[in-house]
């Protein structure tokens, strides 16, 4: 069980509207940062900043050590086979685009025979799901448009769970890529990764996992999951913005053509052509966000010290309070499985009958409760649920039962405030 961690997070001590204390329930959008992360970045900037992998001086050495050390920490968090399987990106969206663009470049002939396993074209299909965040949908739409491949999707049922019976028909011999979320940022439902991977392997398709909502909240073992790539961001796992990571199997990363070109990523350059480093360096052209990488590494260490099993258990407890609580409020509809479900993260997203999500969020904000409103970059899933927007409460390691109770009390007052008949 986790101790009360609020004191680790300086921002949580500030007051918000009307001098109220902050009940921060928007961690699914971005999480707050503990002293451990803030201090690691501060110390790096004050004492160790230097050009990574370039200089011959002490600072350059220390900076390189910090940068690569952070990579090692993130690799351990997700149980990568080696730190070289972690590629730094500016965020998770960039990580997903790195894979999609790399496949696009391979399809245009880059990388030659070694990269031919990535080729997609007319007659091939790319499969996503109805539950995807736009970041794991649009890059694949674009790849399909660019290569002539067809985009297909797996639907979800009324509770937001994937209709696994469709795997066998939607994913077929034409499928080259299956891109799907590990956990929905709207419903919190955790996908049956094994089922996706098993079907993808049957047809020889690559699997790309959007792990943004899972890595910060539950134990994630990329090797055990069996996927080929996984993307996640720093700022949702208690780290800073401006940094994310792509995990990929080394054998695949080494032959995936890069799509951002520049210094540092190359083996040799002549005026005619360039050969690239193996992964991860081939994808890290130009000066990297080193301070942010150090911060993400510190966040990984912080989470591992807490223990991801305990983190998951803590958030399940908060989720239980919120999900059961909202089920009892008249006129409030929970998107996703109702009550205590085994396969749902610490997220509760609701639609309030007769009140627009912006108005719901405004009333909660006035009470010091910070939630996310809108479509959460998942318009297709909202359409599936028959709503245009919703209000989301999401937990993290620092979320308390009191935060959850304040959300529920505020939510219960919304319809009365707007004069909606009971």
């Amino acid at each position: 069980m986790l101790p009360d961690l609020r004191d680790d997070f300086p921002l949580l001590a500030r007051s918000v509207r009307n001098g109220k204390s902050l009940a921060y329930l928007d961690s699914g959008a971005t999480a707050q940062r503990p002293h451990a992360v803030l201090n690691a970045m501060d110390e790096f900037d004050r004492l160790h900043n230097g050009a990574v992998a370039r200089g011959a001086h002490l600072l350059a050495e220390e900076a390189t050590e910090a940068f690569e050390g952070a990579r090692g920490s993130v690799a351990r968090l997700v149980n990568a086979a080696s730190p070289e399987e972690i590629v730094w990106t500016s965020n998770a969206t960039a990580a997903l685009n790195l894979v999609a663009n790399g496949i696009g470049n391979a399809s245009a002939g880059q990388g030659g025979a070694a990269s031919s396993l990535f080729r997609v074209g007319p007659g091939d299909s790319i499969v996503v799901t109805q539950a995807e965040h736009h970041a794991n949908l649009i890059p694949w739409q674009q790849l399909a448009a660019r290569t002539g491949a067809t985009l297909r999707w797996i639907e979800v049922d009324d509770l937001g769970r994937h209709r696994l019976e469709q795997l066998g028909s939607v994913i077929d011999e034409t499928t080259k890529v299956v891109a799907f979320t590990h956990a929905s940022n709207v419903t919190g439902v955790v996908s049956d990764v094994a089922a996706f991977v098993a079907r993808a392997r049957e047809v020889g398709a690559l699997t790309v996992l959007d792990a943004c909502q899972s890595v910060p909240h539950i134990p994630v073992d990329v090797q055990a999951l069996g996927v080929d790539f996984a993307a996640f961001s720093g700022h949702k796992m208690l780290g800073p913005t401006g940094i994310g990571a792509l995990w990929g199997r080394k054998s695949l990363l080494d032959v995936l053509p890069p799509s951002v070109f520049g210094g540092g990523a190359i083996m040799t350059v002549t005026l005619e052509e360039t050969t690239w480093h193996p992964a991860p360096t081939r994808f890290e052209a130009g000066t990297q966000p080193v301070t942010q990488a150090v911060g993400m590494g510190a966040a990984a260490e912080y989470l591992m010290a807490l223990g991801m099993e305990d983190v998951a258990e803590h958030e399940r407890r908060i989720a239980r309070i919120i999900r059961e609580g909202v089920s009892e409020i008249p006129g409030v509809r929970l998107l996703g499985p109702v009550g205590d479900a085994h396969d749902v993260l610490g997220i509760a997203t609701v639609a309030v009958d007769g009140v627009h999500t912006h108005d719901v969020g405004q009333v909660l904000d006035d009470l010091g409760v910070a939630v996310r409103v809108g479509h959460h970059c998942a318009q297709p899933l909202h359409k599936r649920f028959g709503v245009t927007g919703s209000t989301r409460a999401s937990a993290h390691v620092y979320t308390t039962e009191e935060d959850a109770e304040r959300f529920l009390a505020g939510l219960a007052s919304v319809r009365e405030f707007f004069g909606v008949p009971a």
């Binding site: 509207r17 009307n18 009140v355 627009h356 999500t357 912006h358 108005d359 405004q362 009333v363 006035d366 409103v373 809108g374 479509h375 318009q379 909202h382 245009t388 927007g389 405030f417 707007f418 004069g419």
Partner: protein
């Protein structure tokens, strides 16, 4: 009055419920223009149709979905501009925009009178994220007027 109550004044709540001009109907006027606007942050949208008679905004009809601020704002603007000249509606728009940028304070001059019910949106100015909601209808109105003017000119040329 708390900031929240200042934002959701009764006038706004009333406009959000009984929406003036709601319902998109055919307008039998010399120049008709339409605009569809979307607030990309929340997906709120409005389709607004304007009918001009010379320089007069004769009719405003719309349908939309959105928060109480956006819906009430469209309703209030419909009341304000219908029957007035294009120039007057532009003046009201400028006043409303100034109010949105005034951080929750009245403008303190005769523009407050000009704004009528729309003056009740003063509290929205304290919440930068919501100003877009209040302006959605105004964007649609100005765009629809521009389309109506263009249609009117075309009508004259061909007529």
């Amino acid at each position: 009055m708390s900031s929240l109550e200042q934002m959701y004044q009764q006038v706004i709540m009333d406009h959000a419920k009984s929406r003036h001009g709601a319902g998109l109907v055919q307008l039998d006027l010399p120049a008709v223009g339409e605009s569809h606007q979307v607030n990309t942050t929340c997906g709120d949208e409005v389709t607004l149709r304007v009918g001009l008679d010379g320089d007069t905004v004769s009719s405003v009809r719309w349908e939309g979905q959105g928060c109480s601020i956006s819906q009430a704002s469209i309703s209030a603007l419909t009341e304000l501009v219908e029957g007035h000249s294009i120039e007057e509606s532009e003046e009201v728009y400028e006043a409303f925009r100034a109010l949105m940028g005034n951080r929750g304070e009245d403008l303190g001059d005769d523009r407050d009178d000009m704004l009528g019910d729309a003056g009740a949106f003063v509290g929205v100015g304290k919440y930068p994220a919501r100003i877009k909601c209040a302006l959605l209808g105004w964007m649609a109105l100005r765009d629809a007027i521009a389309h109506a003017q263009a249609a009117g000119v075309e009508g004259e040329t061909h007529g």
